[in-house]
Symmetry: C2
Subunit: 458 residues, 2 copies
């Protein structure tokens, strides 16, 4: 591959907006989690779709790998460069292009972060609900099919991306979707590209569905004697049709870590953290139904956080749980698992996970998007301890097998990247080869984010 | 192509379950709407996935076209056989395989109809909401990405199919999706296959998301002086976050047709028909908010139908509107348009459509899923009158151009089939070629429903 030839041409095109500095290469080759550094050969900073199209066209001609980069917060190495090449960093493509209040959508460049978007939307009475915790870029969130705490009510990126502009592997600019709320016109290319992790093209623009800021919002916490009690309460609440906006599980280890980190005083039992959205009366009714059910299932200490500052404190505690867990063992790194199971199997899966980690002598506090059946164990390890690192990786693999044995998936929201590619055949069987055939058809020279998601080329 | 060789082998495999009777061929080559008869060479009636795999394997070997068939209620000729071949009729694959109350999903064979499914589910407190009007098969509904009156609340087939079993163009059996409620594991093959109209494979099993039967349901009707008033009311209600379950528009011509057919006495003005789902108090609150807004925008005669029999009568009237419109001109056929526009442009689109039809001297009452921006004009014509038929087709094409000029789509829910293939390049540009590349990769010999949706092969 003519990576150096590509870089020569790119340098003429972009000037200062092509970087080969060590710090840029390392930043773009690093991971938030446990993968070794794999830097690209250069980092490009486009400002326009036309820039991106020219970058890809040049790379395609020289068969040089092209990797998209948002904020680098993905957890399976999606933005690393294991085969070198050129990373396309979208930080300068951060404009909100159009807000349509009547049609409740927004058109943005891929480098806009979800927090910047919601800040900008505040005056409109609308908001973008998908919230993976990190202040990720919207292009990155679409690429990994992110979700998070609000998916139980508002869906994942799959449900909230209405259309895309992408630069294909040939450097062609293509639009998918329309401004209408639904369509049955042909293959769902938007849906195919969301979650494709930059392996089929680079997203240069997104049209996103917005939602009305609810009239009323209330948050609550509730303690349970054990995880099955908490999960049974969630199942019953969902079956009653209560449209909870968030419903999060913290196991007792997470509660301890959070108490220590944030100075909170949650009782040392598993907790559900909840949020209700709706009219004043609907929110009150939802909370009452939940409270009654929680009591039936053995919940205790049901507490409201109706004031905005209390709610903010609650969710900030939840969003900082990852840092709280990391801080519980100074110097440790963390492998975050991400299995998702049918909700009826969730209590069993969490209990099996806890038992496995205990018998493997691994610290792994558990956090879960329990309304989706999705939970994370934060497996702590010392990077210098090869044996412990291996033990953690093996436990992570057993968890994937557990999820698959229950009819679940290896990843609810973090995606495949480098880290979960080896589970793809187990999960999808012949479907993985179908993904490979699509990839080969749309990127015959395998330049788009090679080494990720799809089967290796022969 | 060795169609006759394929049929010889299929006859040995299936015996009586392969039909070449004239009546079967004509039934499977006919359309609900205006397309000429294009019969297949044979009709196969599989009972199992294994049957389907063998049928496709034989057809693949002989390069014989394979067309899926549910109930034949598609509206763009999706189940017709313009290149001959073998139609696979799923009427004997009509088993409900599994109902999971805890996980709120059902696993069905493709020949199960939506009414049969909901009948079976009644005792569980769950239901499948997607309702295109016709009692279509669920396999067919997935293939065309159907939706209908409830999409505004519950989404389309895109949102309600969790996983599929399909037989690929090679005759291989493949499963997509999991039993978990979300996943970010690789390309969304389920989403790619939903709406692919049998051009990438045949659906042999579906896992569908179920919803809780709401505690309370109320329906209502409201008259407006004109269509813009009605649409403004809808936009305001959606922006208030009122989760309406159905919100349907009938223009004054539809109201007249329905009154004449069903003996109803709706005042001769545009109407909205609504349904609210939720708890008793939530439904009352939703209806009150809507009623207030309707009054602000000039609505009148807001009437409740809280009793189940009144609701049934209301929706039966709506579902029979197509027949009422056909009956308004005895002997006529109907071309049903299906454009979908951003909701902010809906009033303008409906008015432009009415003006166009009037100036073209075409009778075309309008019905709309107004919460989605999707509406149908039922263009009546005499099949024996070639001039009128051509006039209707031209009007239909102008409507598509209108939708595209407003950022909408040529089809909100009926799909592409034969009828709308010529608009694909206009709507999707280079995206249509991308669909063709995917099709070629997954069905290199073009045996799966040829002549539909994707670009013609060179």
């Amino acid at each position: 591959m003519g990576i150096q030839d590509a870089i020569g041409e790119l340098s003429s095109l972009l000037g200062q907006r092509l970087s080969r500095s060590k710090s840029d290469l390392e930043l773009h080759g690093a991971s938030e989690t446990h993968f070794p550094l794999t830097p690209p050969d250069a980092v490009a900073f486009p400002k326009t779709t036309e820039d991106v199209a020219q970058i890809v066209e040049i790379c395609a001609r020289h068969r040089c790998p092209v990797i998209g980069f948002g904020t680098g917060t993905s957890l399976e190495g999606q933005s690393q460069a294991p085969e070198g090449g050129v990373t396309v960093d979208f930080q300068h493509m951060n404009q909100i292009l159009e807000v349509s209040q009547g049609d409740m959508f927004v058109r943005v460049q891929p480098g806009v972060t979800r927090e910047a978007l919601n800040e900008e939307l505040r005056a409109t009475g609308l908001f973008f609900p998908v919230d993976p915790g990190a202040n990720a870029s919207l292009g990155g969130m679409a690429s990994t099919r992110a979700s998070g705490t609000t998916a139980v009510r508002y869906g994942t990126m799959r449900d909230n991306v209405l259309g895309l502009e992408v630069v294909t592997a040939k450097g062609e600019v293509l639009r998918t979707g329309t401004r209408a709320r639904k369509s049955s016109s042909g293959y769902d290319l938007t849906g195919l590209l969301v979650g494709s992790e930059g392996t089929l093209g680079l997203i240069t623009e997104l049209t996103l569905r917005l939602h009305g800021i609810p009239e009323a919002t209330s948050a609550a916490v509730c303690a349970f004697e054990d995880v099955p009690q908490a999960v049974e309460t969630v199942i019953a609440t969902i079956q009653m049709g209560v449209p909870m906006a968030r419903i999060e599980l913290m196991d007792v280890d997470s509660v301890r870590a959070v108490n220590a980190y944030a100075g909170s005083d949650l009782v040392e039992k598993p907790h559900l953290l909840l949020e209700f959205h709706g009219s004043e009366s609907a929110v009150a009714e939802q909370a009452e139904i939940f409270g009654d059910l929680a009591q039936d299932f053995g919940g205790s200490g049901f507490q409201w956080a109706a004031k905005p500052e209390d709610r903010t404190a609650l969710w900030s505690m939840r969003h900082n749980a990852y840092h709280a867990i990391l801080a519980s063992r100074p110097g440790a790194r963390c492998l975050v698992t991400d299995i998702c199971v049918p909700i009826s199997r969730l209590a069993e899966a969490v209990e099996a996970c806890r038992a496995d980690l205990q018998s493997s002598d691994i610290e792994g506090p558990i956090l879960g998007h329990v309304g989706d059946g999705n939970f994370h164990a934060c497996l702590l390890f010392d990077e210098a301890n090869a044996e412990e690192r291996a033990r953690v990786l093996e436990a992570s693999e057993r968890l994937v097998d557990l999820a698959l044995s229950m009819g679940g998936t290896a990843t609810g929201e973090h995606g495949i990247g480098i880290g979960k590619r080896r589970y793809m055949e187990r999960e999808h069987g012949a479907g993985w080869a179908m993904m490979g055939a699509i990839k080969t058809a749309l990127d015959p020279d395998n330049i788009m984010n090679p080494g990720k998601l799809v089967p290796p080329r022969n």
